[in-house]
Symmetry: C3
Amino acid sequence: MKNCLENVRNTMPLVHNITNYVTVNDVANVLLACGGSPIMSDEPKDVEEITSICGGLNINIGTLNQRSIEAMFLAGRKANVLHHQVLLDPVGAGASTLRTNTSLELIKQIKFTAIRGNISEVKTLALGSGSTKGVDADIADKVTEDNLANAVAFVKGFSLKIGSVIAVTGAIDLVSDGHYCYVIRNGRPEMGRITGTGCQLSGLMTAFLTANPDEPLKAAAAAVCAMGLAGEIAWSYMKPEDGNSTYRNRIIDAIYHMDGETLEKGAKYEVLQKEI
Amino acid sequence: MKNCLENVRNTMPLVHNITNYVTVNDVANVLLACGGSPIMSDEPKDVEEITSICGGLNINIGTLNQRSIEAMFLAGRKANVLHHQVLLDPVGAGASTLRTNTSLELIKQIKFTAIRGNISEVKTLALGSGSTKGVDADIADKVTEDNLANAVAFVKGFSLKIGSVIAVTGAIDLVSDGHYCYVIRNGRPEMGRITGTGCQLSGLMTAFLTANPDEPLKAAAAAVCAMGLAGEIAWSYMKPEDGNSTYRNRIIDAIYHMDGETLEKGAKYEVLQKEI
Amino acid sequence: MKNCLENVRNTMPLVHNITNYVTVNDVANVLLACGGSPIMSDEPKDVEEITSICGGLNINIGTLNQRSIEAMFLAGRKANVLHHQVLLDPVGAGASTLRTNTSLELIKQIKFTAIRGNISEVKTLALGSGSTKGVDADIADKVTEDNLANAVAFVKGFSLKIGSVIAVTGAIDLVSDGHYCYVIRNGRPEMGRITGTGCQLSGLMTAFLTANPDEPLKAAAAAVCAMGLAGEIAWSYMKPEDGNSTYRNRIIDAIYHMDGETLEKGAKYEVLQKEI
């Protein structure tokens, strides 16, 4: 984990984000906090050149529109040609036909290094359909200690099929490349009361993938641990009157101060091999 | 007031927001703070399905464009068919022809549960024209203790005519269903130095309306009290060096921690009946 | 410096912003913090009327798209006709053809009171091309004590040629009207780890220009000093656990509390005349 974060701080990867306007500021600040450098562009006439000067591309469909969808395909194909790291955050896949179909078409046309979403969104991609309650994971679909074996098998299977690292995040996070599966237990439930912790993680993960191109699985898992650990560290600084808005700031602050040693010590994960 | 907030916390209403990109992050966080769940979508091909899975719709014209205007009408009509709660925040109505005409056409074609704006914006809707200094209330139009009777009569009259709860917010807030009028004196003047406290209130109010479908007047008034009270509580935690950016965070934090009891005790209002 | 800030607080200039959706919320809050009043609009059918009721126009191409580009030209030409103060922030000029060409066309068709960017962006405008590493200044192009004389000569020359105040910001800031050049040494390097301190400065500068129409050079320099000084004051309140997200809030807070006296005393600059 340690070196994954240190590589980000040392190489300052430039990450192109085509992301939603709800959480974009936090995504930019978390990228700066971890040592990366963000650039945003979603105009079709601009994205191919912008993505060319970057090392990674983060595609998030949170507030997709006709223009930004076109930009996603143009940037994604260009990034593939240039062998950049590309991440998909399929926000709300399963909640509407446009979101589901856009996500399915994206994974058909573009090779993603990693896909990060909640279990409902990832199930939608895997099954080609789904039922999502807004942008949060369907409760029936939650990954728990009870259904963990099934969930791991699902994530591994989808990863193998599609050839991307799959990161399903929730109370328990699963990150798999089809062969190994990280089961991660960092984070706090209160993070769900902040808008965009998922979007921030996707930005962070793109920076980690870009700075660690030869270890996508480890890089993705390290980003998940870093974000969850930041939530734990941030929580320790919360005063009784602090709520979700202050917590948001403190989480980004915790990423800002995190070093490899802290991540190494604080990361709570196990790695499951081949068969669970 | 108490049960209005508690119903939000218990039912976690999903609110679809077509809102401006200036304050959208704060709107999302305040919705999460009060116990609701936000989803944003402004693409015409997406909004009907998204609004269908929600309970409430918050339309805010703060940074309207051709695409989002189309989305507002599509989502609004769909929400009406489904008998969802729908709120209009006519930001800047009176400041430009496009904003005035869009607002007037929206209230013609769509049935709004509630409309929330400053006095200049609401006057524009009522009179079909107006003069607005940007997005803040025209000073000549301020609701004060001196012109209160006239302002109450105006708000009641417009509410009766249009069949929506009307919430005019400012130093003194008025909320009426045409029969009763809440006169609310929560809040602090420094809230006007933060961008988007009005937008946040509109998001919050939509959650309150959605969780209390049988009491729209009380729900709208409770949301106004909650926002103003949050401004008072947040102020009590301000240190000498804290300014408008920290105040913004503390207000959302105060909503996060507010319970029914606190709201009940802290709400400062009187209810005027039939005739003032 | 003192009176430049005081004029903002006394006249509360209304500033129309066509700006990127990444940092727009911070731009709005910093405008409110300094005593100005922000309004955002980027729809071509809306911008001419909106800019007409304002005193200043801030054009920032950070997330430009076809629609907002059209709006920039319409608003800019209208603002010129009305003799409003107009500022250009050419975010990412040099990083893509669209950004470079849009910036070049804007300075051809619209008379800007001031242009504010990093050295790479301003060089792109001056030379008609450039090489930019994303939205941050190309390191080879940094203004340092060693190349200061050359940099001052460049900024003066470009200012004379184009007839706008040119503000090049970085570790050392240069602000020139072609005759005089302010060399400003306020600020902290950690400000570069926050997204949008440049965008915020552009918003602030537009308010300063609008409130001081007869002294554009001094107004622009005062805004640069104010932003840098805010970064220094904010830093003095940082606790060990605070990072870039909290720093962002504290900088806006520092602007909120800054008075003319504080700015006068804290501003660190020298004015170079005619020839260096």
